[in-house]
Assembly symmetry: C2
Homo-oligomer: 183 residues x 2
């Protein structure tokens, strides 16, 4: 399937690195066919980028439960999606990689962090300005960990299993979401 090949390539090599010819090759097909189906590389990319319903519900579910363990549930859900089924994580990875070099991807990732994650959170927390900001901060921090672990491959993060990381990160996420600050 062309879409599968495209998703994997965009996730691994970013927007510029993934060429139509390579994607077509992976799918055992001529590059011109990809063009006929999707019109352009941009449109193919748009078709690939998405947040799967499964990933979304995973995030949403994590907000249900006692507040004292909110940070841990959110952190765990985040890792489960980003390091779980490629079907769910590859579109996210494609967005993240491409967001650095492609404007279209940037706005999609922006919408993901802001609208989706924040909206899911706001139902569970005071729906005010501060909650939105805290949601944005927590999301960006968690994305930063994915960047470190999966893209930059910081040894300290790569060599650690998910549970240990969650043990370290969860309290920090909790601190942000529950709003114990200095101001």
């Amino acid at each position: 399937m062309i879409l599968d090949a495209a998703r994997a390539r965009f996730a691994k090599e970013g927007y510029a690195g993934a060429t139509i010819r390579k994607i077509a090759g992976d799918a055992g097909v001529d590059a011109a066919l990809v063009m006929q189906f999707f019109g352009s590389k941009d449109e193919l990319f748009g078709a690939v980028m998405s947040i799967t319903p499964n990933a979304l519900s995973h995030f949403s579910d994590s907000f249900v439960g006692p507040e004292h363990s909110l940070g841990e549930r959110v952190t765990r859900a985040f890792f489960e999606v980003w390091e779980g089924d490629p079907e769910d994580s590859e579109p996210l990875m494609a967005m993240l990689r491409a967001a650095i070099s492609n404007e279209q991807a940037t706005s999609l990732l922006r919408e993901f962090i802001q609208a989706r994650l924040a909206k899911a959170l706001i139902g569970r927390l005071p729906n005010d300005h501060a909650a939105t900001i805290r949601a944005g901060v927590a999301s960006s921090m968690l994305v930063g960990l994915i960047v470190g672990r999966r893209i930059v491959k910081v040894p300290a993060l790569v060599g650690e299993d998910t549970e240990s990381l969650i043990g370290i990160i969860a309290p920090a996420v909790q601190a942000i979401l529950s709003g114990e600050d200095d101001t």
Copy 2:
């Protein structure tokens, strides 16, 4: 100056996006001259990427002081460097942007997070395995905030002034560095 133009372009547009022709144009010079000076695009990029001594000492200094405000000092130093003098922040931005698509940049950023930041931290904390990991986690989280604020431009982060963000983030960084976890 060619190096100034290159630094700005790499920081704004990443490795692939910044072309030799555009850099040469910014510097009011022919592309061929850039080649004669630096040999190749890779070497030009290598000449641009760096952590300035000023940025480094900024980070180091932030570890000096009482432990209960360590998180706040580190967070503040981080923002001061990344949002301060372009002379210091642009090479970092160039590294970060390029790290997604260029292998050479990936290892440089890896070294930055691991060797430099972590090493500076380890002098101040128990020099064990756990401290290295905590340093990696904190660094990646902070980088994630830069990604959100400066690259993806998440509205919640862009619209907030630095001090408010530090107030939210510092306790989380403190939680990670001081080691109050769940395990």
